[in-house]
């Protein structure tokens, strides 16, 4: 068929604030999350966990549990057919503990039963006899004793360099939890041939797959990990939780097995952000130019390695922040203790370091009697500069000065009506009269690497299929609520010139790894793979048919349609599959020097707070930001990331902390682990600074992590401004203000 056609630009392409395909189902309750999974005849699983932080297991007695009516299986480490440990970077964590328990809440046995209640009771009925040992709960002591997952040492420039002005500081960051609203959930279904299909919350299906088949002791193709609806992740789904347990139970019972952690178990069942202790020394000239930065950073990695080695590397590589300094010395230690394991969380090491370096920049500005933004502007790192720690030349865009200037240009509106108590510290608690309030303003900047670093082969596969209807994108990347389906759709529409694009998330047997949904990387990586696949497919079709354009009508040559989509697909859909990689990264040398990173992004935050100093109550009035986004593929979605990231950063600044006592969590629930509510939400104005990046699709950079990183130190800086206190710890608690 032929006919004339008029070129109509695609709708919902790159740069538009399109709606998410999963948006309406999620808001109306029609979206199936992992906790909604169901299979006929399924059993329910439950986990028996360690009641102590450290101990020797003398005996595990499953007899009473197995004898309970409705209980089908009780498994311990002896039932692990393959590798008995797992882990993302180092397989050091037992699938089920035997011999020793190393953290409070460590899984010891799992149960499958006819209903969740029976499963829970049976887990409780398992006899666990443990000789309790003193836990190693202080990360400083751990480092002294050499209990360290990784020590990273950075030495650059002259150790003897000195500046006229010196500021030193010690800082701490408490343990934040990702606290995703959807708890861990999954369903494993045996395939009847010794293999298993797993649907469980994840950020990286292929990494799960690899670890699962090793522990089950089955061939790789006998395990298939499928995508599911994930109710938030923030790093907590990068490590597995119940995954191997579910597969073991399904294979043992020959029946589908489902598990859902309740809120308390979720807190113990996933890794947390690393708490930090940091010692800093900055030296500068009278004009504010940084001369030397020295830092020692200890992150508490807890009982198992998880991603600690990468997190401590990030903390060390970004210990200085987005500033030029020639002389740098950093020692980063990822400690191994008997605290709950720490791993990935939004900001991944840069969060902790940022609290340190930004607190220092404010101290330096105060000492120099210089405007805090001016000090930062003078030292701003830019494209072409060497990163202060590694010496890596920043090749792509790095608009540090622009984010500072754009932030400064956002006006501070008049304070919200103080007659409305909800705008005051203490809110409807009516603690605070207008006369009790002092206002403060604080600033912070951050820098973060994007995508994987340190010579990791960060490959990402995606496929695009042309059908008579349009195109279908297929990927095993995990949509965890960040909007990946939407951005893939936008990229494919623009790249192909087609309006009808569907995105299908598929399992590990069908397609290669997309890498993790973390490190702010999926828009750049899966987005990059989708762009590459679409461009190559379009070229291939146009070349084959001698066309000069592709539209919804088909291949066009000189304004004439020469082949419709249906004709193109006469002998079946046309698939094009690609693997995308970002520019190579490298390991650093023994001095931490080299080029470990693929790309960088900077952000700047300004917080305005009202403080009631006498009661120590804080109302974060507003947090404004300018962020380096490369190219804004979907401005509305970026705003969503920014507002959410600021809430999470605010949480760490003033309320979110897991409180441990000798390794035991005291507040593993939403009554006492406080997340900011809408009554605590600040107003946010954001400026998206667009300087296209080196290799992301259309110049896009990852945007997920930066909003969380510098918002925390900005809020704390504002509280310092209001109170005149040093405040060396985040989160700031009322007693830190009242009784410093």
């Amino acid at each position: 068929m032929t006919g004339t056609t008029v070129k109509v630009p695609v709708r919902g392409g790159v740069g538009e604030s399109t709606m998410r395909p999963d948006g309406i189902p999620k808001v109306t309750g029609n979206f199936a999350f992992a906790s909604d999974l169901y299979a006929d005849g399924m059993l329910w699983g439950a986990t028996r966990r360690s009641p102590v932080a450290h101990g020797r297991i003398r005996r595990v007695d499953i007899g009473a549990a197995l004898a309970m009516p409705g209980v089908v299986a009780v498994l311990t480490q002896a039932d692990t057919a393959g590798r008995r440990t797992f882990g993302l970077e180092e397989a050091d964590q037992p699938v089920l503990a035997a011999g020793a328990v190393r953290f409070w809440g460590e899984p010891i046995a799992v149960v499958a039963a006819h209903d969740p209640d029976t499963a829970r009771r049976a887990a409780a009925a398992i006899g666990v006899d443990i000789e309790e040992l003193p836990p190693l709960s202080d990360p400083e002591v751990a480092v002294e004793q050499g209990s360290v997952v990784r020590h990273i040492r950075i030495r650059r420039g002259e150790p003897d360099a000195s500046g006229a002005v010196v500021v030193e500081g010690y800082y701490e960051v408490g343990q934040q939890d990702q606290a995703p609203l959807g708890t861990e959930a999954g369903l494993a279904i045996p395939d009847g041939e010794g293999g298993v299909d797993l649907w469980a919350v994840s950020q990286w299906l292929h990494a799960d797959h690899e670890q699962i088949h090793l522990s089950l002791g089955v061939a790789p193709d006998q395990v298939r990990c499928h995508p599911v609806g994930v109710g938030g992740a923030f790093g907590s789904r990068e490590d597995m939780s119940m995954h191997i347990h579910l597969c073991m139970l399904a294979l043992r019972t020959g029946r589908p097995v489902k598990m859902v952690y309740d809120r308390a178990e979720s807190f113990t069942g996933h890794v947390h952000r690393h708490p930090a202790r940091m010692w800093y020394r900055h030296e500068a000239n009278e004009d504010g130019a940084l001369v030397k930065v020295e830092a020692k950073i200890i992150l508490d990695g807890g009982a198992y390695a998880s991603t600690t080695s990468a997190v401590i590397a990030n903390a060390a590589y970004f210990a200085v922040g987005p500033y030029r300094v020639d002389n740098v010395s950093v020692d980063g230690y990822g400690a191994r203790t008997n605290n709950p394991p720490a791993g990935a969380m939004r900001g991944f090491g840069a969060v902790q370091a940022c609290f340190g370096h930004e607190s220092q920049m404010d101290r330096l500005a105060a000492r120099l009697e210089m405007d805090p933004l001016e000090l930062r502007r003078r030292n701003a790192l830019g494209s072409g500069d060497p990163n202060a720690t590694t010496g890596q030349i920043i090749e792509g865009s790095l608009p540090t000065v622009r984010v500072i200037d754009e932030l400064a240009a956002i006006p501070v509106p008049d304070p919200a009506d103080p007659a409305d108590v909800r705008n005051r510290p203490g809110g409807t608690g009516l603690t605070t009269d207008p006369g009790d309030i002092r206002r403060g303003i604080g600033y912070a900047l951050s820098i973060k690497n994007l995508a994987f670093s340190e010579a990791f082969d960060d490959s990402c596969e995606a496929s695009v299929i042309l059908t008579p209807m349009g195109a279908e994108v297929r990927t095993a990347a995990c949509e965890v609520g960040q909007g990946l389906a939407m951005v893939c759709q936008q990229i494919a529409r623009t790249a192909l010139g087609l309006n009808h694009v569907a995105v299908v998330f598929t399992d590990t047997s069908e397609i290669g790894s997309a890498g993790s949904t973390s490190a702010s990387r999926q828009t750049q990586m899966t987005g990059g793979a989708v762009l590459k696949a679409c461009e190559e497919l379009r070229d291939r079709i146009l070349t084959e048919h001698g066309g000069d354009d592709l539209t919804d009508d088909g291949v066009v040559r000189g304004g004439e349609v020469v082949a419709t989509l249906a004709e193109l697909c006469a002998s079946g859909p046309i698939e094009h599959r690609v693997v995308f990689r970002h520019p190579e990264t490298f390991s650093t040398d023994e001095n931490g020097q080299g080029a470990p990173h693929a790309d960088f992004a900077v952000a700047a935050h300004r917080a305005v707070v009202d403080v009631d100093p006498e009661l120590g109550l804080v109302r974060v009035v507003r947090v404004d930001t300018a962020q380096d986004v490369g190219t804004a593929l979907n401005p509305m979605s970026i705003r969503g990331q920014i507002e959410g990231g600021i809430m999470q950063g605010l949480g760490l600044a003033v309320m979110e902390e897991l409180v441990l006592d000798e390794g035991r969590m005291l507040n593993a629930n939403f009554t006492d682990y406080l997340l900011p509510t809408f009554a605590d939400a600040p107003d946010v104005e954001c400026r998206l600074v667009e300087e296209p990046g080196l290799w992301g699709p259309f110049g896009a950079k990852g945007v997920g992590e930066p909003p969380t990183i510098s918002s925390t130190p900005a809020v704390v800086a504002a509280i310092r401004d209001a109170t005149g206190l040093e405040l060396i710890r985040a989160p700031v608690r009322p007693e830190h203000i009242v009784l410093p």
Partner: protein, 267 residues
Amino acid sequence: MEIVRPTTLDDALAARDALPGADLLAGGTDLMVEVNFHHREPEHVIALRRVSEIAGWEGRRIGAGVTWTRMEKGPLRALAQLSRTVGSPQIRNAGTIGGNIGTASPAGDGLPYLAALDAEIEVASAGRGVRRLRWDEFLVGVKQTALRPDEIIIAAILPEVMPVAEEFAKVGVRNAMVISTVSACVMRMPDSTWRIALGSVAPTVIRARRAEELLGTTAAPRGSLLAEVADAVAAEVRPITDHRATEAYRRHASGVLVRRLVGRCAA
């Protein structure tokens, strides 16, 4: 689990008599949390929402089934203020004063109001009929009351003489959905005496008697007297350190809150 749903007080009391181990369910905003945490696994539940005799609020008599949402819109200033701080709109629509009294948490936000007023708690049983206990006879420890296994809380009874000024405030680390780290209710009475009650600073809600004495009948306390009152309150509360706040902070905040509330109630 079996649920009994009486519609009259007599039926409710009869059910209570017949099922002494049963849990009473009002709004469920405390009970269901305990069930979710597996701290309680009720075999029998007596649901009280349909019992009309405890649902009403007439003058000084606030039925056990009256919700925070109603009290928030009611005429009693401090009661409305404290009701507004409870949980979220959903919790306030379901949660009741009777449930707050029944739970008897030291952090129960309705309790400082009842303590400041010297209110009574009216309870009834099928066998012994009705009795009234003053708040401090009823609230005997952390989550412990003088309620007998066959009794139901019927109402909170407020006194004849009501304050000329009353103010409530509550300190929490976030601005909604938060358990009090310190709460306080201050009242100035027609005879010019003062009433001061605090929550979350002792095993039960308490009165700050020493501070009340210091204030005497001063209608508009100022300067050094206010400071003395704050110190007296800080000294006489008996708080603990836990993961929510330190003892020192709770003492300090108790004094500050009371000082501010006295200022607001001053003539």
